[in-house]
Symmetry: D2
């Protein structure tokens, strides 16, 4: 268990891990969340505020924006599933998003 | 023809309009382009550089980012298709992207 | 009084106008505010979230960033002083900043 | 000389180091550069594109924006002067800026 952050989590472990993260679900094998902000500026502001921390973590989301909405999907390609790194990134994004929502 | 920027273009008109925009195609009834930048920072930098002009134009893209890639889809919901506004936005995005590519 | 948004305000009018904006003062003839965010990412996120609205308003701040701090100075060059546009921009920036502070 | 990146450089070493960086000078004991972009969006786009790399480097600039201009000042507080880290950051910023200028 040298690098548990990179190991694929079981379904039960995922549900336990995301329990404190409101609105996060598992969809198509990825951690999934849809945000609706006040407007386009807040949606992009969320992405920009998160960007430096994402880069430092070296673990990147799949995310899409249409006007005030941002949809996020997280998984770890090397592990073929959801890992602790994805849960950590979900927590980081949630912490920033809830300020701007 | 009071507001031709908001009228749905014919397929022929679309192809003529995007001819000067390399890499842009029509996919699923939308103007479509996929960009691959040097890294995550340049991909988000492209989105952030474009954001103020998008807001001023009041016409917003559907766009998605994964690491160094940004995928863009443009259509005008009120017109039920691709309009001059989409072509204009494609030109704006292309102008910014090619600096950062 | 066709365009009162662009007229230089009296000192008394400025103080009345910024009374609802905590932390804003007048310094060197400009509306002035210093923000301290949690970190660099939040400081830049504030600037990015504000950018599209600034562009739409077509009235731009002087602002500086060092790590988690952003210093803002507002005045209207054409009027040679502080105008309603500056007060409006201060209100816009304050609204965004207080979400991210 | 365990950590030469953090040692204050001599004046001669600074001039040699910034020779390949056009427009960079020493001003008030800091590496200094003023950029003029096409507009506000490109000025902020430059800052946003640089932000993730700055965060990863954990060495932050003093920088200020007014409309299309960005002024940058770099020094290392712990060293009381300009170090290799500042030269490295100047190179990073220059690489991004010249794409957007």
């Amino acid at each position: 268990m040298a690098n548990s952050a990179q190991e694929k989590l079981t379904d039960a472990a995922i549900l336990t891990a995301i329990a404190p993260l409101p609105g996060w679900t598992v969809k198509n094998g990825k951690l999934h969340r849809e945000y609706k902000f006040a407007d386009f500026a807040h949606a992009l502001g969320f992405m920009m505020t998160a960007a430096p921390s994402i880069e430092k973590m070296d673990h990147h989301p799949e995310w899409a924006n249409v006007y005030s909405r941002v949809t996020v999907d997280l998984m770890t390609h090397d592990a073929g599933g959801i890992t602790r790194k994805d849960v950590e990134l979900a927590g980081l994004l949630e912490g920033i998003a809830k300020k701007l929502l």
